[in-house]
């Protein structure tokens, strides 16, 4: 196994990891603000991937230009989900919230299954077969595009939370929901916006991931778990942590895939999760509760 091959695998894992990170970012935002564990996260991801697939096959819109559309659509879905359903269960215990999101997940997965059938779908772009060479490195063009876009969306999100009034208000709700209510913020509405933003992240990530992998309805629980692994690795509620966690998981998947066996790659991700939970339960970049 020579160094160039090793380097190529590492860089492709790193790039995929950024897309994973964007997906997990959505989960992190939702948990960080509402303390709701979104067990339907992977299902939203699969919905986004199918939406991008439809836009490409029916209307010829490529996934990257389709990204604002899909993200916008998912925002609406997320907003309504929180507004209509989840807001009722904010004070409920964890297992009740968990069952709530699980029911939503069951419904979404099976609607997708009913509409698209169980077969795996993928899209072929001209760019799918092109690559960039940087010295000895060979990078897939789509992977580079996906990673850069993911980084861009994450930066936008950071700017939103940092500089806009709504973003600041949402952070206030996360820090102290009672205080936020006292100063007159519409907490329920802000929660709905937050869930919408989380879902929009997934929408964006779904578009990008469709460039890299096939989609089928039963991917949903895998992505939900992947999202959890990533945010816990990086630290729940930390934006940088989600990206870092995504990159770590991307790397560990790529490396364990070639060095040991592809079927063992999830075991390494879970191993990593167990290690981090025990050594640093708040995550690598998370703050102590």
């Amino acid at each position: 196994m020579d160094a160039t091959f090793f380097l190529n695998v590492t860089s492709s894992g790193l790039l995929t990891g950024l897309v994973y990170g964007l997906m997990a970012l959505g989960l992190s935002v939702i948990f960080g603000v509402m303390r709701v564990v979104n067990f339907a996260h992977g299902d939203l991801m699969v919905v986004a991937m199918y939406a991008a697939f439809l836009l490409f096959t029916k209307l010829g819109i490529q996934p990257v230009p389709a990204l604002p559309l899909v993200a916008g659509g998912l925002f609406v879905v997320g907003y309504l989900l929180q507004r209509v359903l989840i807001n009722r269960f904010l004070g409920a215990t964890e297992h009740i919230q968990f069952l709530l999101l699980l029911s939503v997940a069951i419904i979404i997965t099976n609607v997708v299954l009913m509409v698209f059938g169980p077969d795996a779908r993928n899209i072929q772009l001209d760019a799918s077969f092109e690559s960039y060479s940087v010295g000895p490195l060979v990078l897939d063009k789509v992977r580079v595009i996906a990673a850069i876009t993911a980084g861009g969306v994450a930066a936008l999100l950071w700017a939103f939370f940092r500089y806009t009034t709504t973003g600041t208000a949402i952070r206030a709700c996360a820090d102290n929901p009672v205080g936020a209510r006292v100063v007159g913020l519409d907490v329920e509405k802000l929660y709905a916006v937050t869930f919408g933003i989380g879902a929009a992240c997934v929408g964006a990530a779904g578009c990008l991931l469709l460039l890299l992998v096939d989609v089928h309805p039963h991917l949903s629980s895998d992505y939900t778990l992947l999202g959890f692994i990533i945010v816990i690795l990086g630290g729940l509620g930390s934006l940088g942590g989600a990206l870092l966690g995504g990159i770590l998981v991307g790397l560990s998947e790529a490396l364990s895939g070639v060095l040991i066996a592809p079927s063992l790659k999830s075991m390494f991700s879970f191993g990593l999760l167990i290690l981090v939970l025990l050594l640093r339960p708040q995550g690598i970049l998370g703050k102590k509760p």
Binding site: V37, L85, R88, F89, A92, E94, H95, I96, F98, L99, L100, L102, S103, V104, A105, I106, I107, T109, N110, V111, L113, M114, S221, L225, F228, I229, I232, A261, S263, L264, S266, M267, F270, G271, L273, I274, L277, L278, L279, P281
Partner: protein, 330 residues
């Protein structure tokens, strides 16, 4: 809570009546109906096992498929490789489950991994083990472990080879035992300790309850009970695949019953199992009529949502009240 003596209260009489009907069931129904009853009782039993940890002691596990799998594989592999009776194998399964669950509990509780994080830790261990078994040749790796099935005229209870009604009585006995065991736990000091920990861990600690030790006991008991259910699944279904036995879906299915029925109640897991199986069967028939595959699951999901919105604390606390059994224990 003050149930008085076991057989005098009204709820006890109702339970005994139910038990009498159930124990006569194999005489009057066909094998298909019997297998549905087995599914109900199995889900009830597994739900009770989970309930000890979550409902009584408040420790959320989403990875109970791990203990089902360990129990199933321990008993199954010993039977296939050495011809060991499942009644000995089940102790191997329990031992392994107790060992693994103590490691998880010890790591989790020592490092203050709580609530959702603890639940995710349990998922991580279950998934880790699933992939491990997928690559472990001695237990058949991903091609699974198949128990030999032979035609026989009589039931062999020692080796658990035989008819559907034998398995029915076995799971009925397990459910009754699980119920009585749960009840006795809840009525004792340990049960009160657990409930104190569940309601407020810091307060329980301040009262001098050894929180860590009692949380560990809950985890270990729950794991051991679950692994017995795993042994049953191995010998009833005769085949074991890591993909299905350790799957997250099994863990999720397992906890639906108690949550729908009422977490922390004694009868909740049983009622939840009945409701869920009835729902599942109804929608299967409905789905066959409509002819579209996903309909069953969608209806199932919508019903779960509906129950959750209407009765977030489970159906049993409400039904118990309606039946006028409130003073009669849980």
């Amino acid at each position: 809570m003050n149930a008085g003596t076991l057989f005098s209260s009204r709820s006890a009489r109702l339970l005994l009546g139910l038990l009498a009907v159930l124990s006569l069931a194999p005489l009057g129904v066909d094998d298909y109906t019997l297998s549905i009853l087995i599914a109900v009782l199995l889900q009830a039993y597994l739900g009770m096992s989970w309930n000890v940890m979550m409902g009584f002691a408040g420790q959320f596990s989403l990875g109970h498929a791990l203990y089902i799998g360990l129990g199933a594989y321990a008993a199954g592999a010993l039977f296939i490789h050495f011809g060991v009776s499942p009644w000995i194998g089940v102790f191997a399964g329990m031992t392994v489950s107790v060992a693994v669950s103590s490691v998880i509990g010890m790591l989790g509780f020592r490092f203050k991994v709580m609530g959702v994080y603890f639940a995710l830790l349990t998922i991580a261990f279950a998934e880790f083990t699933r992939v491990l078994f997928d690559h472990w040749g001695w237990v058949g790796a991903s091609s699974g472990l198949v128990l030999p099935v032979t035609n026989r005229v009589s039931d062999d209870f020692w080796l658990l080879r035989g008819s559907t009604s034998m398995f029915y009585y076995l799971i009925l006995a397990m459910t009754v035992a699980g119920f009585l065991f749960s009840r006795s736990l809840l009525m004792r000091r340990i049960g009160y300790y657990w409930q104190a920990i569940r309601e407020n861990e810091d307060a329980a600690d301040a009262l001098g309850i050894p929180v860590f030790r009692y949380k560990m006991i809950a985890v270990v008991i729950s794991a051991a009970m679950t692994s017995v259910g795993g042994m049953f699944i191995a010998f009833f279904s005769n085949n074991l695949f890591p993909e299905s036995i350790f799957s997250m879906h099994r863990s999720l299915e397992l906890i639906l019953g108690p949550i729908i029925g009422g977490v922390g109640t004694l009868f909740g897991p049983i009622l939840g199992a009945v409701i869920l199986t009835a729902m599942g069967e109804t929608f299967t028939i409905l789905g066959e009529h409509v002819g579209i595959d996903g309909v069953k699951q969608i209806a199932y999901g919508i019903c779960l949502l509906a129950i959750l919105i209407v009765k977030p604390n489970g159906v049993w606390p409400w039904l118990r009240h309606r039946l006028g059994l409130d003073g009669d224990g849980k």
